[in-house]
Subunit: 403 residues, 2 copies
């Protein structure tokens, strides 16, 4: 039998998990501070919902993991967190604007050769009910603050608007808009020459030149300037208009943005989102404006420099004194100190070996002498230094704090 | 289109989610204190792994959500967190004992008429590699401490051992052990008379009487007494031997336990687990002893009395002063205060309405007068009382803390 994860998925061990947890926690703190409430939806939804016309594009729909339950209900693993949140929004009446966030996994049958995973986590934020740029700005500010909270200061948020692009296409008489926008989206990676070649499949050479000239002059775009002006002053420096940003998802209707970390541009956009005013009505209801983003927490966990704050931990090793070691271990835990002791009946050298591999901060060894004298040595595993300490949970806990 | 969740699954709104989050966080803190490290595995595994002989029982295997990916790989949503952690353990070499925990969802096509959900969360703890009762005790102590940390003091942990039961069956010449143990497991719910009737299908009347007499005398069981003796003194009072506990999962081989909260016995066991020394070798490796538990965090979230510590929040309402309101709102957030302002362009009464429904703790109203005077009223939404405050983020933040 194979003990690897299914293709395109992976396990996270404690060190990696601590980093992911730190990203989740940092984002959650920012989301809550901005007045967003956490919601959670099932891992799977009805296939009808996931594949509804106008939500995901045709390519995306193909990548949904689909199955039937025992009663032949057609289901699919969620592809993103936005569609489930929209479904939740439609399931009952909520005071508007709804400000929700959700942290969880999504599944896409991606091409793993492109370095993509088929299961990954997202931290998602949505404001449903407001048509105003104030809501877009709120979403943008949350995205920026999350990255700053993760210690990423060298970031660039590129903003655009589908409305600007549509107006340009209209003016230039371009009919195959989606294809043109997608070609433009590659400008950063492939350069102007390559993109122009691609554009010629969808418009005339003259149109292509005008399009390329247009997107080089983003500064004149009032809508984008207005969004930047509404941002708190200290966040403006991170944001710049970029008319080549198109975003893959078909449901965006206005403001869109992507976010890049300097030095890690190869990761692609780490936070992306925008306004999707037409999505909700496609499920058969009234039109409801909405805006939000998804943050790629797994990717960010790989580049942020936070190790997940771990408190110092102690291993109580023993030579023929397991009861005393256990007693001390539980007494330390009662004082909120992370403590372990041997549960294998091992020799002292093997106990040290385990403590070393596990990466505990301190080891205390207890034998007959220590039990008699009430004193032991506290070994700092990072430096190898030892200092005497009373064989008492309070005394040991105090020594850790002195560190 | 239907906007309900797929049958047997559900959404969690912010208030419910805050309680679940509080349960996850409380358990995580205890797990870390005991030296367990968090791991995360994919939502789906190969169907071969999930249905391997001797892991889940035949009934359980039928309840797995199964599907194929686009390359016809046979997959299934994980049924529990133990099997994926065992698979992770087998995927590479780890220093033993492995002490892992995992928090996540599992999926079972359950009979929802019995009040069960088809998607639910578990907090799982496993010690892999130790054959000693010291490891069982560690697991038991973690379970008890989690419940105490959740404020549940009136709990009863019932412990048993498959070994004791097997020895009894051997001695009494009972051959249909599984059926007999399952009948005994219902003693609490159905009473002795009903259970005896059921037993007669699997053994003689004399055997049934002896079995029932045997399980009424759990105090003589040395193995269980030893486990209780190894527990820290203050935890012993929560634990009692109960030879009727069988546990549904087929893979238990020794110590097993279930945990009930007084007054909520109808929920069934909220934390259950035990020793499964034969599971790992069934995947084709060497025998590796292991012990652990699963905690039903969704059920516990429904009964614990913690609301998820939320810091006070402020809504900055405005009359024709949106820029000032936004500025103040961002300044409060910079001071780590949860703050919101209108993003709908609404009238003051509608802004109040939103703040009230949302349950924010305080509202500050800003209009022309307040902007001019630099003073405003801070309204405590719980009491309706107002007090004057300077129109300054630091002053407002300080007033909240005085509360």
């Amino acid at each position: 039998m194979e003990f690897q994860t299914p293709k395109g998925t992976r396990d996270f061990l404690p060190d990696e998990m601590a980093k992911r947890r730190a990203v989740f926690d940092a984002c959650r703190a920012v989301f809550e501070k901005y007045g967003f409430g956490e919601v959670d939806t099932p891992a799977f939804e009805s296939l009808e919902l996931l594949t509804a016309k106008g939500s995901l594009g045709d390519e995306a729909v193909k990548d949904i993991y689909r199955f039937e339950d025992k009663s032949q209900r057609k289901l699919g693993l969620r592809y993103d967190l936005t569609v489930p949140m929209v479904r939740l929004f439609l399931s009952q009446k909520f005071p508007r604007p709804v400000k929700w966030y959700s942290i969880g996994k999504v599944w896409r049958y991606e091409d793993i050769a492109k370095g993509r995973w088929r299961e990954f986590s997202q931290c998602d934020v949505e404001i449903i009910g407001s048509p105003l740029p104030e809501a877009d700005v709120e979403v943008l500010a949350v995205a920026i603050e999350c990255l700053l909270a993760l210690g990423l200061k060298d970031i660039e948020v590129r903003i655009n608007s589908r409305k600007i692009m549509d107006a340009m296409a209209e003016k230039l008489g371009i009919t195959r808009r989606e294809e043109v926008f997608r070609a433009l989206d590659k400008l950063d990676k492939r350069g102007e020459r390559e993109v122009k070649k691609e554009l010629l499949a969808f418009c005339s050479s003259e149109q292509a030149d005008k399009v390329l000239a247009f997107i080089k002059s983003p500064s004149k775009q009032e809508e984008l300037e207005r969004i930047i002006a509404l941002l708190p002053g200290e966040y403006r420096k991170y944001v710049r208009p970029d008319l080549s940003i198109a975003r893959g998802l078909d449901y965006y209707t206005g403001f869109v943005f992507e976010t890049f970390v300097k030095g890690f541009e190869n990761l692609g956009s780490v936070v992306s989102g925008g306004r999707y005013d037409r999505l909700i009505e496609k499920y058969g209801g009234e039109p409801v404006p909405a805006t939000g983003f998804g943050l790629g927490s797994d990717r960010l966990a790989e580049i942020v420099n936070i190790s997940g704050v771990r408190n110092p931990s102690v291993f109580i090793a023993n030579v023929d004194a397991p009861a005393k070691a256990r007693e001390l271990c539980y007494a330390l835990r009662a004082l909120n100190v992370a403590a372990e002791t041997d549960v294998m009946g091992r020799s002292i050298s093997k106990q040290f070996d385990y403590a070393g591999r596990k990466g505990v901060s301190y080891v205390v060894v207890i034998g007959e002498k220590e039990v008699k004298s009430g004193k032991a040595m506290l070994r700092d595993m990072a430096t190898g230094k030892e200092k005497p300490v009373a064989l008492d949970a309070r005394a040991i806990a105090a020594s850790l704090r002195e560190r």
